[in-house]
């Protein structure tokens, strides 16, 4: 089961959150903390629904029954596993 990042998840695919970690861009601890508070917690299911105009970011992500707009900087902090 390869570990990937939420920012790479294709549209429509459902994945499971493994962990929230500071990614390659060195996101601040407050960002990681906030992602947890928003529900990006291990074991939760996530799905990328669409991307903003331009096709890159922001991405609309559904976690549980909540929808968030994320930029790539925070999306790549979320490690996921595809089933």
């Amino acid at each position: 089961m390869p570990s990937r990042r939420l920012s790479d998840l294709p549209h429509g695919a459902v994945a499971t959150v493994l962990a929230v970690t500071a990614g390659d861009h060195g996101a601040e601890p407050s960002t990681l903390n906030r992602l947890g508070e928003l529900g990006f917690l291990p074991g939760e299911q996530v799905q990328v629904l669409r991307r903003g105009p331009g096709g890159r970011e922001p991405i609309a992500v559904q976690i549980g029954e909540t929808l968030f707009a994320l930029r790539l900087i925070e999306a790549q902090c979320v490690e996921i596993s595809l089933p």
Binding site: N33, E37, G39, G43, G52, G54, R56, R71
Partner: protein
């Protein structure tokens, strides 16, 4: 309960996630008994109102900004945390916390409930939007949830007129609430709370995790890269057209009433200073500003509907990349849209932006969004100098107004882009913006929002605008002209002398001394510029000129170049002391308000200069 206990009001605070319907519940509980805030907008400060329990006890209710957790990420969440924990200077913690929970999103909302529970304070859980949950087949075992949480749990429907009955009944029994468990001082991470959330859901609402909140078919259009942007442009365009076309009937009615009132006072009173004060000062000045109430309310109606329906965060989603290019966050969209009403709530709403540099950039450009106080000035000048012709489906005046708003937005983007290059460190900040499910705007909320807005405007007209108008009337009337002096008497008054002095500064951009005078009281409130012109012209005219409206006077005495230059000036219009004071408070420094006033003045002067000379060249 003893008489003393009944006499002391119970203080409760509403706490909940953003978008859980907390403000709707507050509106239902308090109705018209709200302390009208100075500036309406998204809740970024606490709001207070009162209600009465069936047993006669008064409850004072504090509505707090929505928060995801008690570890604040933004200044508005800080307000919420400080209030519930009793950390606000001079203000005790509330007697009880009402945790407002969205019934359709228990997995997320219960985490905050558990976090609040750890504070060990008296608490009720109010499960809101029960109607939606029930209609869509989600059952919540309230008794079980209450037993597991060890605190009262009630159901509420904030959009029904008796949807708060259970909450009121529970507040009456406040004395018998269970004694809260020992306070746990260690703040827990949300990951640690999650197993407990899952356990509670399995016991009390097994269907909650499968509940479908979203209508993805609507989002397929609204958030579409092409259709979504077109819809956004169409909505904004419709909003500005409506401000002009829908408001004309009530505006004409108010104007006719003011005119009749002025005539009636003139016939009833003997000529003298008091009559002049009433007719030239109060009715021509403050009355002239009152006319714009319908337009301001229409603008607000649109903003409130967009806000209530859940559309605004979608617009922020669509514009995020575009705004990122000039160094702003997509989150800046909501504060900037509020700034179309007034820059002050806009600047305060910038508190929802976590990163300081992003927030500062948003604050600095907020005054470039055309606020409703500039609407009277634009409306007056457009109605005089732009013909009311139809262009295709549209009205040329509405199009011009839309163009002015666009000019404001474009210059804001340009300023943000320049600011970006002065910033040190990373410009790229996280967004993390919730996109709530769509909801039908609730009529009660719209009515309360509009009432609040009307109250604020009328208070301004009756307060600062009235006072300034009277002051200006005095300065324009005294000292009186010497016997037999040529010209109109106002030229010899204090205001006339001041206007003449200022004219040397403003003559290069085409402003005459009457306009120069009007700009001075406009420093305190931009709308006063219109009232001031009304007073100045009413006093400077001969008897039959007074009978003519301000429209006719400026239409005959100003050149097109002067009118356009004044419009261009007001696109940037630095003169709003209240905005500068709020910038001082929100940034906690004098540096930014001084910088703001300086750059706005320079831009306004330059824009008016170019407009004046280009128009003179084209028409001359």
């Amino acid at each position: 309960m003893t008489i003393e206990a009944l006499a002391t009001p119970l203080r409760i605070a509403l706490v909940g996630n953003p978008n859980c319907g907390k403000t709707a519940l507050f509106n239902l509980l308090t109705g018209a008994r709200q302390k009208v805030a100075n500036y309406a907008g998204v809740t970024v400060e606490r709001k207070v109102g009162t209600t009465k329990l069936p047993n006669g006890r008064t409850v004072s209710i504090i509505d707090l900004p929505g928060a995801y957790s008690l570890t604040p990420a933004t200044p508005d969440e800080q307000v919420t945390r400080d209030m519930v924990m009793g950390l606000r200077a001079g203000e005790a913690a509330p007697d009880a916390i009402v945790a407002v929970v969205d019934a359709t999103n228990l997995p997320m909302n219960l985490r905050l409930v558990l976090e609040l529970k750890r504070l060990g304070r008296p608490m009720i859980v109010s499960i809101n939007m029960m109607d939606v949950a029930r209609k869509r087949g989600l059952s919540i075992d309230v008794a079980r949830l209450s037993a597991e949480l060890g605190m009262p749990v009630v159901e509420t429907v904030a959009v029904q007129s008796h949807g708060h009955a259970a909450l009121l009944a529970q507040l009456e029994r406040q004395a018998s609430w269970p004694v809260p468990s020992q306070q746990v001082s260690q703040p827990s991470s949300h990951a640690e709370l999650q197993p407990e959330v899952r356990r509670l859901l399995a016991l009390a609402a097994p269907g909650a995790r499968e509940f479908k909140r979203f209508n993805h078919r609507i989002d397929a259009v609204v958030m579409h890269p092409v259709w979504g942007l077109m819809l956004l442009a169409a909505l904004l365009f419709l909003m500005f057209q409506a401000v002009f076309s829908w408001a004309s009937v009530p505006m004409d009615a108010i104007e006719a009433t003011m005119h009749a009132l002025g005539k009636w006072v003139t016939t009833q009173m003997a000529d003298g200073p008091l009559r002049s004060l009433l007719v030239d000062g109060v009715i021509a000045g403050a009355g002239g500003v009152l006319v714009f109430l319908p337009q301001i309310l229409i603008l607000f109606l649109f903003i409130l509907i967009l806000e209530d329906s859940g559309y605004l965060p979608r617009a922020a989603f669509l514009l995020d990349t575009l705004m990122g290019k000039v160094g702003l966050s997509g989150r800046a969209f909501i504060p900037l849209l509020s700034s179309f009403a007034c820059a002050i709530p806009g600047i305060m709403a910038a508190r929802t932006i976590p990163h300081w540099r992003d927030r500062l950039a948003t604050i600095m450009i907020a005054p470039l969004m055309t606020c409703s106080a500039r609407l009277p000035v634009y409306a007056l000048l457009i109605s005089v100098f732009v013909p009311a012709r139809d262009v295709g489906w549209f009205n040329l005046q509405g199009l011009t107004l839309f163009g002015l708003y666009v000019a404001g937005v474009l210059s804001a983007m340009a300023v943000a882009w320049v600011l970006k290059h002065f910033r040190s460190g990373a410009n790229y900040q996280p967004l993390m913006l919730e996109l709530p499910p769509y909801r039908w705007p609730n009529l009660r909320n719209l009515a309360i929002g509009l009432r609040e807005r009307a109250a604020i405007f009328l208070r301004r007209v009756g307060g600062i605008i009235f006072a300034l108008t009277v002051l200006l009337w005095f300065l324009s009337s005294y000292p009186a002209a010497p016997e037999g002096a040529p010209g109109s008497p106002i030229q010899y008054s204090f205001a006339g002398q001041l206007g003449k002095a200022l004219e040397t500064v403003f003559a290069p951009i085409g402003f005459n001394w009457q306009i120069s005078i009007a700009l001075v009281p406009g420093l305190a409130a931009r709308e006063v510029a219109v009232g001031a012109l009304g007073t100045v012209y009413a006093l400077s005219g001969s008897e039959d000129e007074v009978a003519r409206s301000l429209h006719q006077v400026i239409g005959q005495t100003w050149s097109l170049a002067t009118a356009y230059a004044l419009i261009a000036w007001f696109v940037f219009a630095p003169q709003c002391l209240a905005t500068l004071a709020v910038v001082r408070r929100e940034t906690n420094s004098w540096r930014y308000p001084v910088l703001m006033a300086g750059y706005l003045f320079a831009l306004a002067y330059a824009a008016a200069w170019v407009t004046f000379h280009v128009t003179t060249w084209l028409t001359g």
